[in-house]
Assembly symmetry: C2
Amino acid sequence: MQIINGKALAATLTEQIKNQVQAVVLQGKRKPCLAVVLIEGDSASAIYVANKQKACEKALIDSISIYKPASITQADLETIIQNLNNDKNVDGILVQLPLPRHIDKDKIINLINPAKDVDGFCTQNTGKLFENYKTNDMLFNSLSPCTPKGCIYCLLNAFEREGLSTDGKFLGGKSVCILGSSNIVGRPLANMCITLGATVSVCNSTTKNISFYTKNADIIIAAVGRAELVNGDMLKSGAIVIDVGINRVEGSNKIVGDVNFESISEVASYATPVPGGVGPLTIAFLLQNTLFAYLKTLH
Amino acid sequence: MQIINGKALAATLTEQIKNQVQAVVLQGKRKPCLAVVLIEGDSASAIYVANKQKACEKALIDSISIYKPASITQADLETIIQNLNNDKNVDGILVQLPLPRHIDKDKIINLINPAKDVDGFCTQNTGKLFENYKTNDMLFNSLSPCTPKGCIYCLLNAFEREGLSTDGKFLGGKSVCILGSSNIVGRPLANMCITLGATVSVCNSTTKNISFYTKNADIIIAAVGRAELVNGDMLKSGAIVIDVGINRVEGSNKIVGDVNFESISEVASYATPVPGGVGPLTIAFLLQNTLFAYLKTLH
């Protein structure tokens, strides 16, 4: 089994983004700017936000942080979004999820100007998942969600290393099994894979006999948040396995994915590790989305 | 095998829509109005449009027809759409597809005010397919595409006749195989089935071994436009089969679906005939979408 090194891919992508930013800044333009809104309450969120800001620095993207207590009102949060929408120096707006229960999440997300919605979660950007994108445009010229983009990028890497085409509907004839149907990963990813020509099966927690689907799949993408759910017995030989899971092992700081990495190592052809797989690429595509939103403002 | 009588279901639904229109008109309001734009060039389109207008009459919905020659310019067609958007007496706008090649179809569809987009094809309405709708709201309180709605309604009928629940994620634990991944039927339908809890497989013309998917499926929905592609050997016993296909038999006026109806009759539990299945329900849901758009204007 060969490793898809998401960390290295993300570093290269971030370097490319930095170079693009540098080129524009050298022409006398301002730097791109990402605004991150973090409502207190979820301990993991603060770490995620810190990681995103560190990544911005590497790509020469300015970042603004707006931290607010969990007691913030819907109206106050809406005002924050509107101000960021109106701020010509802000290119991307990211509201870190989850939000406190008393906040109407869908309303907040859909208040973000779609042109600044770098998470790609608003209705207008979700609808664009139905567009007949070419691979390159899907990844680099759209505001689609970052984690699904990272997954597709991992597939590109495996296909390129195999000497296979990554143009056009390059997943034509391939069967993709997606474990998980969330609006953040599984569902947008399913739509992207359909656009790229794949036969797509989307499983969820009610699916009977998951192995039926995984064993037939050329590509398995696990995004269910269940530690090491996928093992080698569930795969067909030569499958590509993309692991989106981030599960903390109880009583330790160890992180494991949705895939039992050791168990699949004799069966899969390519796989992403956790950590160091899809995670860093999610952040790199947040930078890419911010760059895309920024470049649009220059035209 | 029991028949899902789409024609009868559509007649009842149309009657219910008429009753709702009548109740509002009795309060002194104007009738709902659907505007249909037909660009000459496709011979089947004229028949479809005529059928839609006949259905409008039955439901007491006014209809306006705008017929234009195939030589119409993009700018002129855009002006027509904008005028209909601005017309307070028009609730629904339907641009009959296909459009001539020189017309930018996506631009025209996205020019339609999403609140009047009764076909449900614009980006804003496509994005709403990701909403966590309850069954009833998905069908009756959204501007989602009409044919997929008709398919879901057929499933409801089969489930109700079996005494099964149709509330909530009523397709949970069920495997659905969709043949066809078009933006008009297969893809929106896949998203609806995911919302309703199903495990969904979407096949296309590049899928290897379609029978692998159909044989495992509790529900098969065929929307590929290939005459009698699905036969009894491809099904598991007791499957529900929904046939979206409308294929003209060469050299005759006979219409057949994507399913070989006779062949599946000893294997399937429920199936829709062609004609008289999904087709009439597609039109009924166009009326329903128009009613929904109209009722929204009263609030």
